[in-house]
Amino acid sequence: MLDNFDKLNLQMRILIATAISLLFFIPYSYFFAPVKEAPLKESTSMERAEQQAAPQTSSSPKEGQVSSVAMAETSPSKDIIATVQGSHFRLEIDSLGRIAQVYLKDAKFLKEQKELPLLAPLSSLRPLEVRFSDATTNKEAFAKSYYSDRDLVEIRNTPETLTLTQELEGFKLTKKLTFYPDGNYDLEVETSGSQKRFFLSPGARPIAESDKFAFNGVVLKESGGTIHTTEDGDAKKDEIFEGARFVASVDRYYTTLFFVKEPQGLRVVISKNAEKNPEPFVEALDHLKLSGYIGAKDFRLLESIYPSLTDVVEYGFITFFAKPLFLLLDWLYKFCGNWGWAIVLLTLVVRIILFPLTYKGMVSMQKLKDIAPKMKEIQEKYKGDPQKLQVHMMELYKKHGANPMGGCLPLLLQMPIFFAIYRVLYNAIELKGADWILWINDLSVMDPYFILPILMGASMFLQQHLTPTTFTDPMQEKVFKFLPLIFTFFFVTFPSGLVLYWFVSNVFSIAQQLFINKTLEAKKRAAAAKPSGLSD
């Protein structure tokens, strides 16, 4: 093997080196990726004071006044003053009238039998936090405790209301919260006619699943319907949006968000903290009425709360394609009741769509056998000159009315599909913990026993041997033979749902080719039998 390696040409060696380094870096970055956690350290009072400053924005867009930055010097103890119990979640409200923590109770979310906490435990911006643009009021607001009209709110099937009150110099701040069983709520903030300008935050993003390959940050839907995203570490300056439909802080699977159904929308300010992470606020004067949701980014659930919220599910730049793909997958899921089988069906659908584009190439594959001797002759003649060889191959194909190539378009079309499935598997909470058959119990993570990647490699090998391929470049031929092996390793760390897609796609294409070969052979035999029958 090593002796052979010396004989390989330079390009081939570079390729092998690239493949090996890829094999190393992909698992490496997967296992050793630095997971961004919200800072857990207790910050000094000065730092905290800065953190609790209201965003510096013009107090009114027309007047163009700039409000002074408000500061809070001390922070009161953060006791829990109320608990909201739903059948799917548990929510705690602290003495500053904010949501201190949310726990998801569904079996799917449990981590080591414990309810899943969504928010960073310390010193981050909490949902429902209020900051005043007036510095003295802001300082006072962070010093005084709220009181709640109920200690425990239990939600069965009907919404329940909880009122939080804070007595401030000269006025009273009330937050009237109506919780629904699904984790969404309506909120009314009143400052009893004090004409105070304040900022209300849906909170910093959840930290339950802060994988760095997923989008973490703030997603906002502008008044025109455009989606605006600000990723963690990428917030450069304060940004103001008039008439926003929703503003959501998201991690891979979870979100805390505000939205309004009324057309005038929300006036949103996206500020930044010391780590350049975005901090979203809704700005209001005197009073504010909006709705919110905190929990998993479940597509159907978000849709049932308010259809526009489905845009919170962010798949990166391929979203425009990944979203319809998810809808198709979801439709197939409803049809068969299992995400694994839905992926198999999806593969079938893709194959059927591409069939007319590849069919003729597959048929011509058979004719290749007839022209094989001539092909060999040409290959001998133009050895070492791939360009000339290509020209003469094309001429030969034309002469015999057979072009065995599948074409670039079907290949190119498969790439966005593949990538979109990757993003959907990665970002859709529905596929987290989704099982298939036998050993596959989570399609969104790698196959723990490496069976699917090996099957995938085997199917690829089989496919290669079934479809005769003519190479114009001997180097390419060598690489090609190693491909099933390279791909097997390459796919080891991929979500098993994706490997499943690739594997099933290979199997279908093998089956398709075999079927075409069989029918053509039968036809040929029939054609061969006929003339002899006629001549008698």
């Binding site: 590849t358 190439g361 290509q390 020209v391 094309m394 001429e395 074409g407 670039c408 079907p410 290949l411």
Partner: protein
């Protein structure tokens, strides 16, 4: 933009293309076709025709030999050639040399040093 695209096609040809089976139904292959067009014609024209080529590269079309066509105004210089990179073969005999003519763009199989 143009250099970037040419660079991307070059990387594709050297790194990605060898990793898949040859699939193109044409000569020159889609990537070669695009590379020639981007090197020797207007950016938008090259983009449009490269896309058209890729869209036609499937079983619904014949395939075969298909050279890119470019329009160019030719100023004749009389003398012996020094280096031949491409051949411009006119689609029809050209009478008026001051007008733009249409040419097949055919890359020389080997760069000929004269």
């Amino acid at each position: 933009m143009r250099t970037l695209l040419i660079g991307m096609i070059w990387v594709y040809q050297k790194v990605i293309s060898p990793l898949k089976r040859p699939t193109c139904r044409y000569y020159p292959s889609c990537s070669e076709y695009a590379l020639w067009l981007f090197s020797y014609s207007n950016f938008w024209y090259a983009l449009l025709f490269s896309l058209r080529r890729i869209l036609r590269c499937n079983s619904l079309f014949e395939g075969g030999i298909d050279y890119p066509i470019i329009s160019k105004r030719i100023t004749p210089i009389f003398g012996s050639p020094r280096l031949i990179k491409v051949w411009l073969v006119p689609l029809c005999p050209q009478k008026d040399w001051s007008a733009k003519g249409k040419f097949y763009l055919i890359k020389s199989m080997k760069v000929v040093q004269c």
